[in-house]
């Protein structure tokens, strides 16, 4: 265990995730407040952040439970909101394939938007499964720890950060920090632009299905463009 935590890859993954952790503070506080509003006691609120470990799912579940929605509706809505994890899991699969199953099982638990984007960049850059896994573990644990702390504070103390600070804007900025560096190749640009248009064009879909639908539109567009470029290279 000690050699894991002291490894350079683990420490780098942990340190690189700290700015994203700061960005998640307002999100974590709001999620803790939502659990309190749903009538959760301390342990249920802690259970949500420890076990569900997904801001979108926790907030949706809290809001729906506060409105008295049936359990089946809550479960289905949260599952749909988490459909993108299926895509992250597939995209991560080739990189985690060389690792033992217990590493795959542990890292899967830490698979979030932020950890996914940060670690796939690392795997791509180094092509080192073991180092990449340690980097993923470091970043994933940093996010997980920060998430527990901010959720508990939000539950106990309410939303401490004044809205006028606009700290919630740090969440989209963290995503921008992950996606902007990817936009260096034409197919990636096509994928992002198509997804961006589709997410607004499909905004009428229920249960925020436009997010996953737009993701699929972007992936298909990027892949088709990639093939077209290979078939008909620019002269």
């Amino acid at each position: 265990m000690r050699h894991i935590v002291t490894s350079a890859d683990f420490r780098e993954g942990f340190a690189e995730m700290l700015p994203a952790c700061v960005g998640l503070i307002p999100f974590g506080l709001v999620t803790g407040v939502a659990a309190a509003n749903a009538g959760a006691d301390f342990f249920a609120a802690l259970g949500m952040s420890l076990i569900i470990f997904s801001g979108a799912a926790q907030i949706l579940a809290s809001q729906l439970l506060a409105e008295g929605a049936p359990v089946a509706v809550v479960v289905l809505t949260c599952f749909v909101a988490g459909l993108r994890f299926l895509m992250y899991s597939a995209a991560m699969a080739p990189y985690l394939k060389p690792l033992p199953p217990r590493w795959q099982n542990a890292l899967a638990f830490l698979l979030t938007d932020q950890a996914f984007a940060a670690s796939i960049r690392r795997f791509d850059a180094t092509q080192d499964p073991r180092g990449g896994a340690l980097h993923f573990l470091g970043g994933g644990l940093a996010l997980w720890g920060c998430w527990q702390i901010t959720n508990v504070i939000g539950f106990l103390a309410g939303n401490l950060v004044p809205a006028s600070w606009s700290l919630d804007f740090a969440v989209p900025l963290c995503f921008i920090a992950l996606v902007a560096p990817l936009l260096r190749t034409p197919p990636a640009l096509v994928a992002a632009a198509s997804a961006g248009i589709a997410v607004f064009a499909l905004a009428g879909l229920p249960m925020k299905l436009n997010l996953i639908a737009a993701g699929i539109v972007g992936i298909v567009a990027g892949t088709l463009f990639d093939f077209a470029r290979e078939r008909w290279p620019a002269r």
Binding site: A90, K97, P172
Partner: protein
């Protein structure tokens, strides 16, 4: 207000489904070869999915009027810095500073 039983049912079921979604294809492809077409398409998951997630956080519906807001302009500053530096801390700092400045100018 939900009862303790309802809450814990939701926590366990949603938590389990969430974990199974995250594990799904990692486990599935750990013993099988991935079709080359799928492997190629999956390269575009980060660019497409993260863009689809982030844009609605910045603007609810893009119109000419809604595009000239401090949030959109600050996001553009963040995107330029993120593209150039590939650094999360620099992106967040630049974007937040731009947002605070723009909000101070408008008020």
């Amino acid at each position: 207000m939900a009862s303790a039983l309802t809450l814990w049912t939701v926590i366990v079921v949603v938590g389990t489904l969430n974990y199974l979604s995250r594990l799904s294809f990692i486990a599935f492809f750990s013993r099988r070869a991935m079709p080359p077409l799928l492997a190629r398409a999956l390269r575009y998951v980060p660019a497409a999915m993260l863009t689809a997630l982030v844009l609605p956080m910045i603007v609810s519906a893009p119109t000419l009027h809604s595009l000239a807001t401090p949030r959109v302009l600050a996001a553009a500053v963040g995107a330029v810095v993120g593209f150039a530096t590939r650094n999360t801390l620099a992106t967040v700092t630049a974007g937040m500073t731009a947002l605070w400045l723009l909000q101070a100018i408008i008020h």
